[in-house]
Amino acid sequence: MITLILLIFSLAFVLFLLPRKLKGYQAIFISFLLLAVFGWLAGKIKLVSAGSTESEAVDWLPQLGLNIGFLLDGLSLSFALLVSGIGVLVFLYAHSYMKSYEGTTKFFFYLLLFSGSMLGLVLSSNLIQLFVFWEFTTILSFFLISFFHEKEESRKAAFQSLVITFVGGLAMLAGILLLGSQVGSYELNDWIAGAGTIKQSKLYLPGLLLILGGVFTKSAQFPFHFWLPGAMQAPAPVSAYLHSATMVKAGVFLLMRLSPVLGGTPEWTSIVPMIGVLTMLIGSYFAITQTDLKAILAYTTINALGVLVLLLGINTAPSVKAAVLFLFIHAFYKASLFMVAGFIEKKTGTRDLNRLGGLMKSFPITFVITLLALLSMAGLPPMLGFLGKELIYEAKVQSPGFASLIFIFGFISNVFMFAVAMRILFKVFFGKPVNSFSVPINKKFFFVFGPGLLILLSLILGLSPNLLGKEIIEPAATVVFAQKVNVELALWHGFNLVLLLSAITVVVGSVLSYVLIKNRSVEEKWDRLNKRLFPVNLPHVFTRLIESFVTLSKRKTQFLQHGYHRYYILTVVVFTAALLWLQLILTRGWDFTLSLTLQPFYISGLLLVIVIATVYTTITSSRTRAIISMGVVGYGIALLFLYYSAVDLAITQILSETLIVVMFVLILQRLPFFAQLSRKSSKLRDLAIALVFGGAMTVVSLMAINVNFSSPISEFFMANSYKKAFGENVVNVILVDFRALDTMGEVTVLVIAAMGVAALFKSKTLKK
């Protein structure tokens, strides 16, 4: 399996190397590749349905307990079959569909990478690895939605779906890490083995919520559902592949995968079905009034995803069985409907239901395919969809908890779905033909091949459902439910409550669709009513949220990066002073053994001079006086050094102070006079800050005197200065001998500074 994924990924890059002549057939090549994958997987069906699994693992970061692991069991096999099988058909379809566009190589590159990532996702047995593939699909979905990137809506929609699914993905990662810490592993096996520990831990609920965040964003559950209709900006093959059959099912897949670990608790059976029901209702309700063909399909997809989540939330044997079956049903009819929608748009140049009509005569084959697909969607015999609907009704009837509510909502949603299906059928294929065909397409074999095959499958499986049931549904359901689930499927269940329900659904749905189709004003009024009833436009809310976030960070940056040099310094000083005082107060315990004395008086006098000179420097308005008094301070410090046994320091200080003053005086004649720039209030503020900071430094230096570390370094220097380095002045010996390399560095600094100064003075000024 590892080789399989690697092969797909590397072949995607090979696409760019294909010679020009072969470029036109790249989609065909990829289809064959995926067909081979499908064949390989199909060969494993026997093995898996017999109850065994296949797994592979390679060390990745064993220190962190991370391995690359792949697992082929009932669940991953059914998803992988869907991904590769529908992939084959989508690529064939895309071969025809994408012909008229630029940049197809890039498109197929992304799409193939997506297939590989999706396969990787469903086959992963390590949850971190699953997350990596999960994010791959998110990013690739972004590129695929924005394929028509010249259009603003495409870019917006791509960004929207990226942000939503990405944030969800991060939440999911956090959830995985939280729960992984409970069992000390990210391996699926360990999680299943430690399910009890996880469910009992305190982190169960937060972990569950975080993981559900990933699931619900990816699978377009309420209130994140709105990105999916937006994603319809993508080319039709992408919609058919990512946004109906595979990627949006990734969330559902994760629910199924983790259902043995996290499922069955009161939290699970209340949160998950609730969101599922809401999503289901919203999807079907809003599908009814849409006029864009792809938008209708998007909302029905939301409905289907809601149903899947609801079923998994109910978490009983019949519901799990129904969920797995419905997964296939939906993939079959929705992928084909999207492909048909793309075909119709290509042919007629529009997706608007009200501008379409009477296409039955022109496209008889397409009509038959759509009819059968819509029958499956509406849940009518003899399609597989009928079977699914019966099973779903059954699961809802038998569901524990708030069964009656779920049941009623399920009924309403089914009525809507039926009406939607009929509406599409009549609006597009019946009525008077209203348009002329804008783009004549001659080669249309691949346009109908994919959807045709899927619908044929749907029909055959509807008639003899056990072809699918025993071999694929049962092993998958068994994995999800973690117990043996018996799957016996039959189209005809006999006369029972469920059949009666189906009949009522059809009758009510027919009436509803009849009203809608006959009278266009009803549809418009309803749409207006909806806009008044639900005034919150989620995509707009999202856009505004993002915009206000950008504004906020802009303001924050302007606040922090204001460009005023002195306020930067002010911030630094204030915080330093505050932290210093805080630490001083926390430490306390200073024991002053020192006594205040003014002896010897000449030093006290010197200090007084220094203070006066310092203060004078700060307040004088004359540059010359400022510099001279600054020099006085420097020389005063030199005298202090001299008095307290630091001869070399005194010499250095005098030399450097002299140089500084000379430099200042030299430059001063070229500089302006001091201008009165600051107001009095800011001067007072600065003074206060300066005093607080200076006070802190005084206390710090007092404490520093009392801190006496043992001084082995100095002792070493003193002992060896004369014996080893033959120098009497220890300070000098340290500089030129013991620490000669440091002095070398210092000299280098001076040289660089001198070169800088020379460069600055020599270079000619470019005056404007």
Binding site: T618, I667, G694, I705, V757
Partner: protein, 116 residues
């Protein structure tokens, strides 16, 4: 006397900070000099004050305990020299800056472009 010296350190730091917060670049440079002097004094002071016994040794010296600690002195000496280099460089920079922009006001430094 240590207490008085500590007060001096505080005064120098306060003056340095006050000057750093001015808008005039020349005052800013003076502030840097004050800060560097204050820091030198702080390091020097923390070693303890010793009168009239510089760290001079020869082969007859046995007792070194009463001598001034040479390590902080070496550190401060390096700091003084580096401080000199830095101040001179800043002064040259300031000179060039004024020549081009014709202003001494730090608030005019908000833009990265030179003024026309």
């Amino acid at each position: 006397m240590e207490i008085l010296l500590a007060v001096i350190v505080g005064v120098l730091y306060a003056a340095g900070v006050y000057m750093l917060l001015r808008r005039s670049i020349v005052k800013f440079i003076i502030g840097i000099i004050f800060m560097s002097n204050a820091t030198n004094l702080l390091v020097f002071l923390s070693a303890g004050l010793v009168q009239g016994s510089p760290a001079f040794v020869n082969d007859t010296t046995v007792d070194t305990a009463h001598l001034a600690d040479p390590t902080p002195q070496a550190l401060v000496l390096t700091a003084i020299v580096i401080g000199l280099g830095m101040v001179v460089f800043i002064l040259a920079l300031k000179y060039k800056y004024f020549e081009i922009t014709g202003t001494d006001d730090l608030d005019q430094l908000k833009q990265t472009d030179t003024h026309p």
